[in-house]
Symmetry: C2
Subunit: 503 residues, 2 copies
Amino acid sequence: MLNTRRNSSRSLCWSSQATAPTGRPGSSFPARPAARRPGGGTHPLTQAADNARLFEYEQRVKSAFDAIVPVLKKVSALQHEEEFEQRAQMMAREQLGFELPEHILADAWVEQLDMKRLFAWCVFETYRRFCDDFFSADPLSEPEKQSFQTFLQDCGFHTLDISPCADGRLAHVIHYVLRLPYRAVRRKSYAGAMFDIEDSLAKWTETELLRFREGRPNTADAPTRYLKAVVYHFSSVDPNHEGCAAHGSDTGRAARAGLERLQAFQQAVQNSFCCGASIDLLLIGLDTDTDAIRVHVPDAQGEIDLDDYLDARELYDVTRTLPAQQAETRIAEHVQRSAPGAPEGMLRLITYLLRNNFSQIDYVHHYHGEHYDDIGHAERFIGAGIGFEEVQLRNLTYFAYLDTVEEAAQDLDVGVKIFTRLNISHGLPIPVVVRYDYHGHVPGARDRAIAHCERVANALTTRYDGIAARGLLHTLLVVRDCHSGGRIEVLGSSLSEQLQEAH
Amino acid sequence: MLNTRRNSSRSLCWSSQATAPTGRPGSSFPARPAARRPGGGTHPLTQAADNARLFEYEQRVKSAFDAIVPVLKKVSALQHEEEFEQRAQMMAREQLGFELPEHILADAWVEQLDMKRLFAWCVFETYRRFCDDFFSADPLSEPEKQSFQTFLQDCGFHTLDISPCADGRLAHVIHYVLRLPYRAVRRKSYAGAMFDIEDSLAKWTETELLRFREGRPNTADAPTRYLKAVVYHFSSVDPNHEGCAAHGSDTGRAARAGLERLQAFQQAVQNSFCCGASIDLLLIGLDTDTDAIRVHVPDAQGEIDLDDYLDARELYDVTRTLPAQQAETRIAEHVQRSAPGAPEGMLRLITYLLRNNFSQIDYVHHYHGEHYDDIGHAERFIGAGIGFEEVQLRNLTYFAYLDTVEEAAQDLDVGVKIFTRLNISHGLPIPVVVRYDYHGHVPGARDRAIAHCERVANALTTRYDGIAARGLLHTLLVVRDCHSGGRIEVLGSSLSEQLQEAH
């Protein structure tokens, strides 16, 4: 289980490269075989086998993306040599697992290879293969989904709806940081975790109607509530620069803004519906350098104190030498003590989240050391739209949940700013995947998803016309029938023919 | 009750002009005192007193808007004369009921009066006064709102949700054409009546939840359904040019598109929820020249036939000589015969709508003759956003129900095209009221409505930057607490200081 940058021996249906790439420029994901091994041992509650499986998966996916630049560099160096096309394709096949679009290569002799287009094409193709793997091989299979739902209801909640920040360093918060089955949790990401209240209210309404009409996930008379959580974030290593951009790297501001948004949503539910309609709230902070969480345990009245939280890292330390069972009891005691009289179910859920987080603390510690090397942004692409359940990995995607560019302009501006530094400053374009999932059993839903994709892609190109015109913004248009659970459907891209040729 | 262009003697809290204006350039609203009186008499079912009251109100509102251009023409002619400002203000006070912004007048001597700004300012001020009158004096008071809701439920429907075309010639469809209490009907207008299915689905969900949770408007076990209606339109006088622009003035296409959208919504409900969830559908056509409707009566299975409809004008003619009671029975017989075995409640509602429409047929006939003079567009401003319940008048407002400019671009483009002909071709700007209603009892709702207004106004200016930069597009920003039922709140406008000065 030692750190390694080499791909595992598992057969890769979508990525057959065998070499360790050195990452794109600007990427701070560790590209060297990690030599260090921090002070040994793990917490007794850590699920070491899960960590190994999750790390293998993360490495496999990120290596595929990070192989692109090194391969393209070599291809570029070859472009005026003899038998260039054959040699380039052989290299791409071997190291990327797919061939490059022929006519881009074929035109190289005229002037030179269009590396910007080639790069975007490779990112999109890698994304497609990553998705196909995810939806066909189910690499993050979740046998515990059903048992988690039962547990959640036992704790008094029929829905867990989490809004993390859109920052790519939080994209793994559900499956990795909190170790929750991603299919059992609603995740909608917004810059600064500033989720849309009307959108959440519509989801609450739909959820409650399903309980009344169809008894899903439980009947309306069950004494459970809708739990809305916000995950804000901060950086323990470089708090003034690597915190939340949307809140000026000010941890206090990020937490306060998250709490205010939660309270506004709660009040919106209470005021829009009568008869005691309400929701429960949870505020969680994430140190994106170590993946340790802090939980602001709500008190007996459900009130959340910004200055009062339990730090998973501290609990980890004080329970590390205990046997597993005792450690778990100790966590529960700390949680209870922090909020006397609070509902038992909420305390149990928080204990569960803290305990789960210990595995992730060890994950980072074991594979990365004191903290991640890439404490800053290192996303590989922007994901804009609705869907993206396959994105459960840290720093892979800057994710903006959006209906329109107009409403999400702030989220997108933050993303484009990040990628200006990551990609454009190195001459590489920003790859944006525009994605809309739809329910295939609803007639016309696919057509509407396609129209939605096209409208948003056009709006993106209009908003960022300066960089788009210079070939520095490319969009891939994708829809997916989330009802059938099948693969994604690629509609096309701003690279047009090149992409279609490949399929 | 003879046609008259003079204002009634009713005291006008918001419009004190006493002269008959001659309309703005391009306006085809009859500007002359109507001399004709078409073949006498009305239908025995016509509510003549309602017609008189409705006509007085329509005249009063439209006269206020139509007074602007004639007054500004005179003001323009005076601008280099002695005591210009005093004389202009006197004229404005007398004929418009308000004073003009002083500093625009004061600057006239330098070059010349900025008539574009002055025109937009007057339209916005007139709109504000029109709204204040509406929300304080309740000129369309609806004592029958409650009885209509009872009737609707007796017919088997707990909600009536109507999507007309955004065309201003349909803005009066609820209160005038169908004689329904506007507060008891949901109206959302879209170009070509192409309503948003997701938006309607959210409304359906909310409606059903309120029935389950709060028994509003009735409990969920009552055997009633949600009725969604589309109103498409056509022109009997000039069918190839004055029909629905969004469907190329093709009546068949407009009807078919409306039906398809209705069916897609029904299927979306059926497929998104189980346990027999569904809705009922109704397709209505409107002749915008005469205000006569046609109703495509759904058959016993709820199926709608595009080629099979009842024409109110024909029913009017065949029942005109009968006593009222017999006429009503005769309509009901026709409706029943057109759809044997159809649910009795649906037939009763359709009979009611057709009978109501007779009053409007007589309204047009009596005050305008065979058809309206302004069979084409003659809207006074564009209304964009959510709200506008005060707009119940024909050809006053091109109305686009919208969350974002991005999603509603097509609707807005149609509106801007219409106003390019109506206003810009005469050198006058397009006045756009951006409006968001909010529920004042929900904390933060007002702030969000204000932010929404500002975002949409900015997006409008961006989308139409060419005309905006030339001073040919002006926006007024308005919010309203629809929960308290109070007046509108003007936030500001693209005319900035001028507007604020006035208040």
